[in-house]
């Protein structure tokens, strides 16, 4: 296991290097630079040029790249040009918010998808099956921002059940506060803020996972041993739970891992609609301000997270399915 993990980490190095270089050139390809956006409309060309000098933007591109890579190697992600704080601290304040949102979205997705997928596999070609497959198709064909705004209008403005924007206390902190004070307000407030954005973000994953659960369940239900068990007269519910679902879980876990990575991307839109202070918004804002260090740092952080989650998925995979280990 250790060598496996070690190998994966070694593999990661060229990928991260590639990402850094790709992002670097992409950013410098985009017209406009931070000196201009920082100084605003009324700045004179001399003032802009002076700031460019200070920021090192007048150096040849390859020098800038080398400086960036050198700092990166030293573990220094740089300082935000706009906010005047270290990129690392920005990532540390924004990433947890996105993780929290993505985790809950995934949880919601699983809560919808697993029962729906199982039922529609067991009752294949019934109306339940058709309804859930229709939902699964719908979920992937709906633009996220549309769903988000509809939810806000429905649940915040008309029904006034959930807040329309923003984040409560961080969920972990709110749980601690609740335990400490015995006041449920904290945790409920955090959850109330989470629910609409998490639902918005989770629906598409729910749709995808539903399809996955259904197809892998169907497959297993057709396996000989399940049929044998059925023939032996074992109650069908237990067949489903014991044999089928456990085995169906393997491809589902892979998908869940991949979904988690992709939820990070979907967070960009969700966070914009709901004013969620996560890393997606941080990146979008940084791109529009040409705050190069922030964009570079955030992209690297996300890439690392991707790699980390995929590693966990692979380990889980090996744990659930011992056959893989021996291979």
């Amino acid at each position: 296991m250790m060598t496996f993990v070690g190998k994966r980490i070694l593999h990661l190095i060229p990928v991260l290097l590639g990402i850094s270089i790709l992002v670097f050139f992409l950013l410098h390809l985009i017209p406009g630079d931070p000196a201009m956006t920082l100084l605003g409309q009324e700045a004179t060309p001399e003032e802009i040029n002076r700031l460019r000098e200070v920021l090192g933007l007048n150096e040849p591109l390859y020098i800038q790249l080398l400086v960036f890579l050198k700092n990166l190697a030293l573990g220094d992600l740089g300082t935000s040009i706009f906010q005047d704080v270290s990129v690392l601290s920005l990532i540390l304040t924004h990433l947890p918010a996105t993780l929290e949102l993505a985790t809950l979205a995934l949880l919601i997705a699983l809560l919808i998808a697993i029962p729906l997928g199982i039922v529609s596999a067991v009752k294949q070609f019934s109306w339940v099956d058709y309804v859930s497959m229709f939902f699964a198709q719908l979920g992937v064909s709906m633009p996220v921002f549309w769903l988000g705004v509809l939810l806000i209008i429905g649940f915040s403005v008309n029904l006034n059940i959930f807040p329309s924007f923003g984040r409560g206390e961080p969920l972990v902190e709110s749980i601690l506060m609740t335990i400490q004070s015995g006041n449920l307000f904290y945790i409920i407030d955090s959850l109330k803020h989470l629910i609409l954005p998490a639902l918005t973000l989770g629906v598409m994953s729910a749709a995808i996972i539903t399809r996955m659960v259904r197809s892998s369940m169907l497959e297993i239900l057709n396996e000989d041993y399940v049929r044998t068990a059925e023939a032996k007269g074992v109650r069908s519910f237990w067949i489903i739970m014991k044999h089928a679902f456990r085995n169906a879980l393997i491809p589902v876990i892979t998908i869940v891992g991949l979904q988690f990575g992709n939820l990070m991307g979907g967070a960009i839109v969700t966070e914009t609609v709901f004013g969620w202070p996560g890393i997606g918004r941080l990146i979008i804002t940084a791109i529009s301000q040409r705050d190069f260090p922030v964009v570079q740092g955030c992209v690297l952080a996300i890439a690392l997270l991707f790699a980390f989650i995929n590693l966990i998925v692979d380990i889980l995979y090996a744990v659930i399915n011992p056959k893989i280990k021996s291979n």
Binding site: I19, V140, M142, P143, F145, I268, F306
Partner: protein
């Protein structure tokens, strides 16, 4: 959006492992599959007809502004779906929008296919260091949130439909490369390929005449699904202000702008949103159905 590209690949692998289903089940699944092909096909056909015959189908000039008739409700003053914020006929705009949205979907997928298939073929067939490099590139692109990469590309290329298409094409190719590579690697060892090699066919011939035709089925399926993804992605880019340029108008652009009026004129966002949903649904049903059909055919062989 970018999410479901992953699953497609995954289900693809699943399907390869699929066991022969029972006879009765096979019959039912055949019916159901052809049903989804049927429904999906009809939807896609209707959309294509809309795009081709837009001037005939539309009731008004989609570009003509009539500021006095802003934001009319559906059916008002002879406007089937009402008017937009310039008093332009929404129905006609959606009909014409089919052209742009289909173009975005189809051309960007073709571009992704071109990149993905070639790289996948090369990686799978030659293996070795070429394979390593190509797969590392795939890894790099995959570790970005796809949407983010598209945003950066559109920002770099500038706005406009061509650039949106290029950006989407440049970010969605990784799946095709992976699927093709996996297929090529298994095909490579098949007898008929070995035979072709002993006859003395060159690599080019083998790749394009022996291997490629044999992995067309999954490519077509995933490509079909990809069209839907691209259409939704274009809408998202429009929402973030990185879409096409007026006066051209895709459904995504109409939807994104309609969102600004969602409280007072919800029809402006509901109808283009429905158009996107139905079209994506059509392509997905078609893709799923075709996959299951070709899959069972392959298995029967």
């Amino acid at each position: 959006m970018e999410y479901n590209t992953e699953i497609i690949n995954q289900t693809e692998i699943e399907i390869v492992n699929k066991k022969e289903p029972g006879r009765v089940r096979k019959f039912f699944s055949f019916i159901s599959n052809s049903k989804s092909v049927l429904i999906g096909g009809v939807i896609v056909l209707i959309i294509i007809i809309c795009a081709l015959f837009a001037p005939v189908i539309s009731t008004h000039d989609p570009y003509e502004m009539q500021m006095s008739d802003r934001l009319l409700e559906p059916m008002e003053k002879g406007h089937l779906l009402g008017t937009d914020h310039y008093g332009r006929d929404l129905f006609s705009r959606i009909v014409y929008g089919a052209r742009v949205s289909l173009k975005v979907g189809m051309v960007s997928v073709s571009l992704s296919l071109l990149i993905g298939v070639i790289l996948g073929l090369v990686a799978g067939y030659y293996g070795g260091w070429l394979d390593s490099i190509i797969m590392r590139i795939v890894d790099i692109v995959l570790s970005f949130p796809v949407l983010l990469l598209a945003i950066a590309l559109v920002a770099a290329l500038g706005p406009g439909i061509e650039n949106v298409i290029i950006a989407l094409g440049l970010v969605y190719w990784t799946n095709y490369a992976r699927i093709v590579r996996a297929n090529v690697m298994s095909l490579k060892e098949e007898e008929f390929i070995q035979a072709a090699r002993t006859i003395g066919s060159n690599d080019f011939r083998i790749i394009f005449f022996n291997i490629l035709p044999n992995c067309l089925a999954p490519i077509i399926v995933v490509g079909t699904l990809g069209i839907g993804i691209a259409i939704v992605a274009e809408a998202t880019l429009s929402f973030l202000g990185l879409g096409i340029q007026p006066p051209e108008s895709s459904w995504g652009w109409t939807l994104a702008f309609g969102m600004k009026f969602i409280r007072d004129a919800p029809h402006l966002s509901i109808y283009p949103g429905l158009a996107i949903m139905i079209t994506v649904l059509g392509f997905n049903l078609l893709g799923d159905g075709v996959r299951d059909l070709t899959d069972s055919k392959l298995k029967r062989k």
